[in-house]
């Protein structure tokens, strides 16, 4: 099993962000995390990526416990944080080199990996321009490239298409689909249309719990549309 998550729990002060999340993921699956803001999607992803330690529960990547053996697990994950924070003064080239070398690649391997990831993420000639001068779409692609550098089997992408224009979104979705053929992916998104377009499975999270875990088509059959499914299953703050 590529990823096995069991009973993950995380509280911040008195607020329970994630309240017993469990699921499994296999190669070839593209899972879409859906849910209102504050539902616990990002916290869950952060725990799987080894940025946060769970209060309870385990996440195992290829049977390696992320909390117990963090670095070995992290070697097998590519992670795109929400908003794709990057070092603005660097160029994509030097930034990706930095990530590759921090991951322990030799200079030669790093150069090779950067070239391949830059190509996969379609960075084009932006590779030599300071990141702070790039558009949001290109910055997101640099973040994507950094997640792909070591060719991981598991990719966790937090809102990979947020803030992109329709063309860019289309390009990133194509990339996600292509990557999903021989890897496992988790993406979080607010776009239901995106889930339909790229995901093989939708996990709807509300108030830290999984309220649905099905193929998008099955959710559609049950509720008529994904919008209705989302509205019926989650208690958004907007609907008082």
């Amino acid at each position: 099993m590529l990823l096995q998550v069991d009973g993950l729990r995380k509280t911040f002060g008195r607020r329970t962000a994630v309240d017993g999340i469990g699921f499994a993921l296999d190669v070839g699956e593209i899972v879409g995390f859906l849910g209102p803001n504050g539902a616990g999607k990002t916290t869950t992803m952060r725990m799987i990526a080894g940025y946060l330690e769970p209060d309870e529960g385990v996440a195992k990547i290829f049977n390696i416990d992320v909390a117990q053996d963090r670095r070995r697990a992290q070697e097998r994950v590519g992670y795109l944080p929400e908003g794709a924070p990057l070092y603005g003064e660097m160029t994509p080239w030097s930034f990706l080199r930095f990530v590759a070398e921090t991951r322990g690649m030799s200079r030669e391997a790093a150069r090779h990996a950067v070239r391949r990831a830059a190509q996969d993420a379609r960075l084009g000639d932006t590779i030599d321009r300071p990141i702070e001068t790039l558009s949001k779409g290109y910055r997101r692609r640099v973040g994507l490239a950094s997640a792909l550098l070591h060719d991981p089997m598991l990719l966790i992408l937090d809102e990979p298409t947020d803030g992109l224009d329709p063309n860019q979104r289309h390009a990133v979705r194509d990339l996600i689909k292509r990557l999903g053929e021989e890897r496992g992916l988790i993406i979080s998104t607010h776009s239901l249309e995106e889930v339909e377009a790229v995901c093989t499975r939708a996990i709807i999270i509300d108030q830290g719990r999984i309220v649905a875990d099905k193929a998008p088509a099955a959710l559609k059959d049950e509720h008529g549309s994904l919008e209705r499914a989302f509205a019926a299953l989650t208690r958004g703050e907007e609907r008082v």
Binding site: P81, L86, M90, G104
Partner: protein, 250 residues
């Protein structure tokens, strides 16, 4: 081919951090201000020429005081900026041991301090033109000053790991640096001797940066002073790593 993971990430962090210093104007401004103030103190207040002695005592005497303000300005961005921009999330999801990131950043900031010190070398040349100073003593004092700079940077590194705001990191680092420096001053010692007896006050003074830099700036290498600075650096960097790792707890 994989290198040893810790060393690879240390080297990569060091290079990245150094690049950040040399590609942004702030480091140059800080170094310029440092050189300006060290010149001002040495010549105007220290009475370098009036002393009519070919040595650098008036120069080194001000190092703790100038470092105390200058180095927190260099180290304040180390971790605070990472948390503010969110890049820390990226850093901490790379399979790198925390110590390698802490050490890489520290060494980069320390290198900036070293570069600033190197830029004062014309002063050393000057005293040699004016007279015949004890060059071995000056060399020792430079080494001690560099080591002391490392201690201030390490203090700044802890403070930077505790906050997202660079300015808060700066103020805290100046404050802690001042306390640790001035423990050896009569002003502070008298305060302590009011509460505790003389021997204890004397003991407290032994933990001050000033106390340990004092002998060194006259050219005397004392093992315990080297040990003091190295331990202070190690202690502060350990606290930095703890503070950085504490983030995983949420």
């Amino acid at each position: 081919m994989k290198k040893r993971p810790g060393l690879a990430s240390l080297a990569a962090t060091y290079r990245r951090e150094l690049l950040a210093y040399v590609t942004t104007p702030t480091a140059y401004v800080f170094v310029a201000v440092f050189l300006f103030s060290i010149g001002l103190f040495t010549f105007q207040i220290g009475g370098f020429f009036e002393a009519r002695r070919a040595d650098l005592t008036p120069f080194f005497a001000f190092h703790p005081w100038i470092f105390m303000v200058f180095l927190p300005a260099v180290s304040m961005r180390l971790w605070a900026e990472e948390s503010r921009s969110g890049a820390i999330e990226l850093l901490m999801t790379l399979p790198a041991p925390t110590w390698s990131l802490v050490l890489g950043k520290f060494l980069a900031a320390w290198s900036v301090a070293g570069a600033a010190l190197l830029l004062t070398l014309p002063l050393w040349v000057t005293v040699n033109l004016l007279g015949s100073p004890d060059n071995a003593a000056i060399f020792t004092a430079y080494l001690a000053s560099f080591l002391m700079a490392g201690a201030y940077i390490a203090i700044g590194s802890v403070m930077s790991a505790l906050t997202q705001a660079q300015i808060v990191a700066f103020v805290l680092a100046v404050l802690v640096s001042f306390l640790l420096t001035a423990l050896g001053l009569p002003l502070v010692l008298d305060f302590f001797s009011g509460i505790v007896n003389g021997a204890v006050a004397e003991g407290i003074a032994r933990f001050s940066i000033l106390h340990h830099f004092d002998a060194a700036q006259r050219g005397v290498v004392e093992f315990r002073s080297v040990f003091y600075f190295v331990s202070l650096i190690a202690l502060c960097l350990s606290f930095t790593a703890l503070a950085v790792d504490a983030r995983r707890g949420g």
